[in-house]
């Protein structure tokens, strides 16, 4: 047992301070307001304070922190994308994640387990090679492996997938990791708060006040706040915010669902994804299998679960692992994924001065939490987006300069 825990047993009063203050009444004005207390918004607040000394910042969260997609994803972190822009960006995120527990002084359970994207068809194998080649070029450790290497890493996997979709190979991505997603939000909140950022939970933004093409304030359920810099980092609620400022984006909202099994002794050490079978699965440190599938095929603004999803997912899980037939699903849930036409995010400035957008995170937002926070903080501080996110600008949709990540989204879309 680590010595750091001794104090908890030896002191009569619980020796741990609050992670973050209980802020209730916002001030009249802030240097910047961040809408959305998820991982992205909190990370942006943290880096604004840390990298740029901008601490007079309010984070407004309509529910509780980390309660949106930050707490609903399947916690996978990876950088094996398809475009060099994407690979560079997510690789920068992975690099921050690797040291983030120490930086935030909180164990995020960042666990590098290796990530296999299974290919069941020749065309999937081609895409794997494409991704591997681009990754390799950029310096990210990804390569195509055959069934033997997959079996070695996961001997329990039925390589024939019960005869339904034999596995031809996989894209192996060594840095693939999982983390405790809630803790990422808490850690950023804790450190941002320590530097002076104020986090308001149960505080909803009801309008954005503009004057002459510039942001001048926000209306909230706790009153008016004046500010000339506003970041929207609200994932599935992005359309609700952008319509407040008449900003058009090509974002559509699709439900994305996931589920967990009962805890069992660890046996699955790697992270497995199958595009053809629409499955991704890893085993948490609690022993639960965390399982997800592809987006629901319809636009829908809801976090309601469907039976259809879990029926499809479990069918395919037993294709891969027939012995799981009698293992039980404990809980299923849904999130709202903000999907863009090219499966890359929308980050940076907007035509409205002082209004910054961090959106379009679809199924790939959690893994980008640190780097999106860092780059959005820079964008806000300098009123200019750094090169790393230039190809994710909103105007690319007007300019026909898309960043095609469709092939790298983890499961079929």
């Amino acid at each position: 047992m680590p010595l750091g825990l001794l104090k908890y047993g030896l002191s009569s009063e619980h020796p741990a301070p609050r992670f973050f203050r209980d802020c209730t009444e916002p001030k009249k004005s802030y240097d910047a307001v961040i809408i959305g207390g998820g991982g992205h918004g909190l990370a942006a607040a943290y880096y604004l304070a840390k990298d740029y000394g901008i601490t007079n910042v309010a984070v407004l969260e309509k529910g509780y922190i980390g309660g949106g997609n930050t707490g609903r994803n399947t916690t996978i972190v990876r950088s094996n994308y398809l475009t060099p822009e994407g690979v560079n960006f997510y690789d920068a995120s992975v690099k921050i994640y690797e040291d983030l527990s120490e930086e935030l002084d909180l164990n995020l359970f960042y666990s590098t387990r290796g990530h296999f994207t299974l290919a069941h068809t020749e065309s999937a194998m081609r895409t794997m090679r494409w991704r591997a080649e681009v990754n390799k070029h950029v310096g990210v450790e990804s390569y195509v492996v055959g069934p033997e290497e997959i079996s070695k890493a996961c001997p329990q996997l039925d390589i024939s997938c019960s005869g339904q979709a034999p596995i031809l190979g996989a894209l192996y991505h060594a840095p693939g990791s999982v983390a405790r997603h809630d803790a990422v939000a808490w850690g950023y909140a804790k450190e941002a708060d320590r530097m002076g950022v104020e986090i308001f939970q149960m505080t909803e933004v009801t309008g954005i006040d503009t004057k002459g093409g510039k942001v001048v304030g926000v209306n909230t359920s706790k009153g008016y706040i004046s500010t000339n810099r506003v970041l929207s980092a609200v994932a599935g609620f992005t359309p609700r915010i952008t319509e407040m400022v008449d900003l058009q984006t090509p974002i559509v909202i699709h439900p994305l669902q996931a589920c967990v099994s009962e805890p069992m002794k660890p046996w699955l050490d790697t992270i497995l994804v199958s595009g053809s079978l629409h499955v991704y699965v890893s085993q948490s440190s609690r022993g639960e299998l965390v399982m997800g599938s592809s987006l629901d095929p319809y636009e829908f603004h809801s976090t309601r679960s469907s039976l259809d999803f879990v029926e499809g997912l479990t069918t395919h899980i037993t294709d891969m692992f027939p012995f799981l037939s009698n293992v039980k699903v404990v809980r299923q849930w849904g999130g709202m994924a903000d999907i863009t036409p090219d499966f890359a995010p929308i980050m940076g400035k907007t035509p409205l001065e002082g209004f910054y957008l961090d959106a379009g995170w679809g199924t790939w937002g959690f893994k980008a939490t640190p780097i999106s926070g860092k780059t959005m903080a820079e964008t806000i501080a300098k009123d200019m987006a750094p090169d790393l996110i230039k190809s994710f600008r909103l105007s690319r949709f007007e300019d026909y300069e898309l960043t095609g990540e469709k092939g790298a989204a983890s499961v079929g879309h």
Binding site: M264, I317, T318
Partner: protein
């Protein structure tokens, strides 16, 4: 020593069927109808498992399918819930998650470390230095989890069943059964489901030492069973509530998906434990668990016991305990007013002492800490929730029954979208606003009095009937004045802790208080930080107490705290049940058997199976040899491929031409009957989606083909746009109805002409034209195509005639050296021809300008899908270009693969999309995306192979056949 008692009326065990089984190496007797826990308890075995975190000994808690500390494995299956799982003769089981057995579990030392493992301890350590985290993580992972998975467990495939009804009633207790009878009387088709083996709910155990409850059940069940409108399903639980009132009923044999017109949730309530030090010891159980043991399994819960209660149910339990000879030392009532006089008098009459305004301060464990030795009782102020630990009295006993209140089993109501509110008259959450067609009755609705529950069931049934259009009198449920069945704060703090709130996760009172201190003072954050309710029981016995503690910490009323979201499943549900039969449809073409019989090496192509190539006539060749041989046959004589998987759509109606003009990039208005045009489909962004052929059949009719993989997509998009544009067009998807084959090669016309009287000469049937002709006696569409060969015929016939026509052509071609060829061969042949494949040579962003397809864009049309985007794209400079390339003659180096990158000056310029060796051309040829400046004929570029070698490629014109005449390019 057995604690089995004399036969009880209505008992669930079958005394004629005794059985024996092994538990942790010990032989145990039981009866058919026993659960594992009841049989063990009857045998005097009280340690049924170890807890998840601290490995504390645990016994029975609820007998209601949330005793997750008593989970077993039989070596085949794991995480078997002992409280509800039936024993079987010869079973050999042990508790999960122990090292060295449940009594001697080596991990029990963790309990002593618990002061050093505060709430969320794992967030606070193990990460400095970073390099040690994997070490700690490995330890944590090994300690986590419950049972071990059996990797040899068979795949279980259980087909789903389906059912429909007017009213689905969830819960066959007093209110549910009353609702069923009432609804059935209105002529409604009723399904009642209950997770227990027998119907009756609390009528099967809450007797209070009398028989009236049993009489009520007998009479009610009689009415239910004799009513043909009622289907009673027991031993199955409603797993969740989904859209359109879909409720899966999960039974031992699989899932029945029920779509109900209305749903009555009468799922009752979960008894909640009061919280005090050592409330988790084996022998401490819920009052309802003690009652279940007595009445269902005829087992005496303990010999000498104490009841601690904060409602009247504890008194009823005491009477039940006394009725089977338990020496009930006292009823400890946490309330200041105690129970109504007649009830407490009944208890006193049995010689049981009643202490009001008292609580159990702590349980005194036996010396081995595996059981109860005594309880320490002290005064309790139920308003300040203060225990006066200075005045404790010790009562010796070997068991404790607890009744502090109830939490509604409202998970399905939440999932249905019900708004709940906190009702102080019952001290629980009750439905406030129910969705249309959903009703609640009984305890889940905050109705506890037995007469009122019957009426509440009838009321719900009457409302359901009215909702379904029946005329029915309103039933009113009179409010019964009674003390709240739940205590607002049944929580006794103790400086030494071990007063458990969540038994799944070993969470104590101080964990909640400390979590709140650390800022996790919102119920959702508290849940995530403490993990309350995240264990396998999903908070059935812990969420309500967690809410009460947080309310007290924050000094807010309970309704301001709210509840966490209750998500499916109601109980953990087997993956095999959910997955069902594992439906993976495959489609076979009409010629499938022929391919298999003739050595076709079959590959999946979407849902279809297609030959990649043939090990023709029993020969064994490498894939490479076979492909080259089949390709040569096409180039030199003739070959035929089964093209039945092509999308085939008939488009007809007054606006058919207009529709194609808008849908595709080409011009169709002046297309003559019998002519075909390339049908290139883009998306709104101008990205290439599909290319097929559209043949005009008559003035208002086209026959359109699509790529095999896009058949469904194109048809769906056509349907969508016909609707969107409001055109008079009818679409018929003939993909499965028609077989198709392509006969290609220099001898193809000669072969085909032996089977038809039609004129298929070059003059009558030039490339790009179609005729309707009889082929081998079958009415066919015959089209000249040039995808794989300059001379080729695509023949479409009805599915049933496909095999016949195929065989006839193969026979006719025999003397000409005809060969069947597969999809791998087709890939090579079209490559030689210079035809790219959409989504193979293009990707999700490729526009026609990048893929040499400008000629197919009729930009002067008023509109087509993607045209608006193309007008913008046309003004921009291209950033990539699809080109044809060759490797050097007699190339012998490291062969590039598809998707190898084109690299120039260390930058990615593009990638290889297709590459193959052509024996016919004796060259390696391919397509690649390159930078526009590398795209002109004769320019060269470099491909980096898998191994990192750089290979030079030269851009050439297509088709590649000029390579045959021109050595120097």
């Amino acid at each position: 020593m057995t604690s089995r008692i004399a036969k009880k009326r209505g008992e669930w065990i079958n005394r004629d069927k005794p059985l024996t089984f092994q538990y942790e190496g010990q032989t145990v007797q039981g009866y058919e109808g026993d659960t594992i826990s009841s049989a063990l308890w009857a045998a005097g075995i009280n340690v049924l498992g170890r807890s998840f975190k601290y490995h504390r000994a645990r016994g029975v808690l609820s007998f209601a399918n949330h005793d997750v500390n008593a989970m077993m494995t039989d070596g085949v299956d794991t995480n078997i819930r002992a409280d509800v799982w039936p024993v079987a003769d010869g079973m050999d089981i042990k508790a999960v998650n122990t090292i060295g057995g449940v009594l001697k579990d080596k991990n029990k030392y963790i309990d002593y470390l618990s002061p050093f493992l505060p709430v969320g301890f794992y967030y606070k350590t193990f990460y400095k230095p970073k390099s040690l985290f994997p070490f700690w993580e490995d330890k944590i992972r090994k300690a986590a989890g419950l049972g071990e998975v059996n990797f040899n467990y068979p795949r279980i495939i259980k087909p789903k069943k389906f059912a429909h009804c007017d009213v689905l009633i969830i819960g066959a207790g007093l209110s549910g059964l009353s609702a069923a009878v009432k609804a059935a009387e209105q002529g409604l088709d009723v399904i009642v489901v209950d997770e227990n083996k027998q119907a009756g709910g609390s009528l099967t155990y809450d007797y209070a030492g009398e028989q009236t409850t049993a009489d009520t059940l007998t009479s009610l069940l009689g009415k239910v069973e004799s009513n043909p409108n009622i289907r009673l399903i027991t031993d199955a639980y409603a797993g969740g509530f989904y859209g359109d009132k879909l409720v899966p009923l999960v039974g031992k044999d699989g899932i029945t998906k029920v779509w109900a017109k209305s749903v009555i949730v009468a799922s009752g309530a979960f008894e909640q434990p009061p919280v005090f030090r050592y409330n988790d010891l084996p022998g401490v159980m819920l009052g309802s668990a003690a009652q279940r043991l007595i009445h269902r399994y005829a087992v005496k819960p303990f010999n000498k016991g104490v009841v601690v209660t904060a409602n009247d149910y504890g008194y009823r339990t005491a009477l039940d305990l006394a009725s089977v000879g338990v020496d009930v030392v006292a009823v400890i009532d946490m309330r200041r007013n105690g129970a109504p006089r007649d009830l407490s008098q009944k208890v006193r009459d049995k010689g049981i002492a009643v202490h009001i305004s008292s609580c159990i301060y702590e349980v005194i464990p036996t010396s081995d800490k595996l059981g109860v030795k005594a309880v320490s009782v002290c005064p309790y102020d139920d308003i300040s929730a203060g225990a006066d630990s200075g005045h404790t009295v010790r009562l010796s006993c070997d068991g404790v029954a607890m009744s502090a209140g109830w939490a509604p089993a409202a998970a399905l109501l939440y999932q249905a979208g019900t708004k709940m509110r906190y009702d102080y008259s019952v001290e629980q959450f009750v439905p406030d606003e129910l969705p249309e067609g959903v009703f609640a009755a009984g305890k889940v609705n905050g109705v506890f009095d037995s007469k009122a529950r019957q009426l509440d069931g009838q009321r719900a049934a009457a409302e359901a009937a009215a909702f379904l259009g029946k005329t029915v009198d309103v039933v009113t449920v009179p409010k019964v004045e009674m003390a709240p069945p739940s205590h607002p704060y049944p929580i006794v703090e103790h400086p030494k802790g071990k007063n458990f709130v969540d038994f799944d996760e070993d969470i104590q009172v101080k964990d909640f208080i400390n979590a709140a201190k650390e800022g996790f003072d919102n119920i959702e954050l508290m849940k995530r930080f403490t993990t309350v309710g995240m264990g396998p029981s999903q908070g059935k016995h812990s969420n309500m107490n967690a809410i009460r503690i947080l309310a007290r910490v924050r000094q807010l009323p309970v309704e301001k705290i709210g509840t966490t979201t209750a998500r499916p499943f109601f109980h953990p549900t087997p993956i095999g049940h959910l997955g069902g039969r594992g439906f993976h449809p495959h489609r076979y073409t009409a010629m499938h058997e022929w391919h298999v019989d003739n050595g076709g090496v079959m590959m999946d192509a979407g849902m279809w199976m297609r030959p990649a190539y043939y090990q023709y006539r029993g020969r064994t060749m490498s894939a490479m040899e076979a492909v080259q041989e089949e390709a040569l046959a096409v180039r030199q004589q003739a070959g035929m491929i089964d093209g039945s998987t092509l999308g085939k759509i008939e488009v007809f109606g007054a606006d058919a031409t207009e529709f194609l003009e808008r849908f595709y990039t080409g011009k169709f208005s002046k297309q003559k009957i019998g002519e075909s045009r390339i049908a290139l489909l883009l998306d709104e962004a101008g990205v290439m989606v599909d290319d097929g052929l559209a043949v005009r059949v008559d003035d208002e009719k086209f026959y359109v083909s699509t790529n095999s993989s896009n058949a469904a997509t194109v048809y769906r998009e056509m349907q969508r746009n016909v609707q969107l544009w409001g055109l008079q067009v009818t679409l018929v998807n003939l993909t499965g109805a028609m077989a198709a084959m392509t006969l290609a090669g220099p001898k193809s016309r000669e072969i085909l002409s032996t089977l038809t009287k039609a004129d298929i000469s070059e003059a009558s049937l030039p490339d790009g034209n179609m005729i309707q002709a009889e082929i081998a006696g079958v009415d066919a569409k015959v089209m000249r195509v040039s995808f794989v060969s300059d001379l080729a015929f695509e023949i479409h016939v009805p599915y049933k005639a496909g095999l016949h026509v195929w065989k006839q052509i193969m026979a006719a071609g025999e003397s000409h050296g005809i060969r069947p060829f597969g999809t791998d061969v087709q890939r090579l042949l079209r490559l030689e021809m210079g035809h790219h494949l959409i989504s193979h040579d293009t990707d999700g962003l490729t526009n026609p300008y990048e893929a040499h397809s400008e000629a197919l864009l009729k930009m002067d049309k008023p509109f087509f899908i993607g045209q608006r985007s193309l007008k913008i794209i046309a003004k921009k400079t291209l950033n990539k270009k699809l080109v044809n390339f060759v490797l050097e003659k007699d190339f012998t180096g490291d062969m590039p693969n598809e998707c190898n990158l084109v690299i120039e000056d260390g930058n990615i310029k593009g990638r290889v999309t297709s590459i193959a060796y052509s024996k016919y051309l004796n060259r390696v040829i391919g397509f690649a995306f390159v930078a526009p400046e590398q795209g002109s004929t004769g320019s060269t570029f470099s491909i980096r192979t898998d191994s990192g070698a750089m290979v030079k490629a030269t851009v050439v014109k297509a088709p590649f056949f000029h390579l045959l005449d021109n050595d120097g390019e």
